[in-house]
Symmetry: C3
Subunit: 172 residues, 3 copies
């Protein structure tokens, strides 16, 4: 293999890794705008057809159940009252056609009586994603409220076990 060929191949590999990380970040950052605008099918399309969305009080299996959550009276009431699902920038780790991401969401709602915005909950988020023929999709997203239950910090820590965190730039 020539030097030029090697350098091209290495550039393509490095660039692909960045494109994957940014594509997954974009997917995760699209969740808030889509769910807060009631774009039910587009929310569900972030997941694989049989993807799982596991929230403390609710386990959704497959796109239809995710769509139903967005269309539910409870969720529509959040939207009509004033609501932000504020998704923090995720920490993404790609491994071939699989990826995990960890981050936080804040659910902010407007109180109808006082008009004040209140922080309803802060939640640990763990995402598993897979690359398929249509690009990256969520296989399992797990949310746990940061209310002191041990599961929530464990979810935050799980991605980092046995690995360092900010090193890619150094190995180039």
């Amino acid at each position: 293999m020539s030097d030029t060929e090697q350098r091209l191949a290495r550039l393509e590999q490095r660039l692909g890794a960045i494109e994957d990380e940014l594509a997954i970040t974009r997917l995760i950052l699209s969740y808030g705008p889509l769910v807060d605008s009631g774009s039910a099918d587009a929310v569900a399309a972030l997941w694989e057809a049989d993807g799982v969305y596991d929230v403390d009080e609710l386990l959704m299996n497959g796109r239809d159940e995710i769509t139903a959550m967005v269309l539910s009276k409870a969720h529509q009431r959040w939207i009509s009252g004033g609501c932000a699902h504020f998704v923090g920038a995720p920490h993404v780790t790609v491994n071939g056609d699989d990826a995990v991401a960890v981050g936080y969401t804040l659910m902010i709602v407007r109180d109808a009586a006082s008009g004040a915005f209140t922080l309803r909950r802060a939640t640990a988020n763990h995402w598993r994603l897979r690359r398929g023929s249509d690009g990256w999709r969520v296989t399992t997203r797990t949310n746990r409220v940061l209310d002191g239950r041990p599961e929530s910090p464990e979810l935050l820590a799980s991605t980092f076990a046995g690995s360092h965190t900010g090193e890619r730039g150094s190995t180039v």
Copy 2:
């Protein structure tokens, strides 16, 4: 065109797309630090000379009006009392020399009497940007409070109409 030439051209195109997305993200993330430090000219310089900043209660046309907002007594009072314009990571979509981005901002202020931090508002943000001779600049930024008015969710949804969200990585 040789294979090497094709691969170089494709790499340059892909890399340019990423640089654009990251440059726009950087521009948007600079808004908070600049406005919360009262850096009036630097805030205004994020916009084109005749750019528009359309907030619910205030329409600013051109850089002078944006500078004036930052220098206003009202804004200076936020800074001196304690204030954070917390800008969420945006979801950016580039199309040649035009781009749109969607995201959230939280306005957090410290209450002088109690010393407590309060969430004054959560806002839907929609940015239109254009690449000119000096790089990316904002042409129109539209903010709408997420207080139940239908415009705000519509603003969040507008970017996604007719397109998928996290696919770039998959088409490479």
Copy 3:
């Protein structure tokens, strides 16, 4: 130098700049999940061995003091009561083997009595980082609460002095 050689060298340089920016962003975004899960050694490992973490009420010198903060009763109490160190996406500027980043953190805690989540503080963050043999590490992180003290806005403004903010994409 041939045209191909020049284009390869330029691509490698541009790609390296992006990898650095993303590696630093990843490092910063890992702070929240690590500190909220009590991963004391992993938090400390984000810093250089003699790195400094300068918070309003506490100056930590070196990894041992950072580890001790995470293991302290005060911090462990936050975790067991429910706590989120919500780190905003940072604005990163790389200059060779040095970098600075500026951003915000929100400290959100659950009130044991009411069960409500409260925003304990909003903080200006300034990070200095250096690339060493193990990759990027924090040399000094400075946090100042945004409670009206002039230092906090000054910290937010310091990165931008004499430079523009979103221009990289335009110079390509």
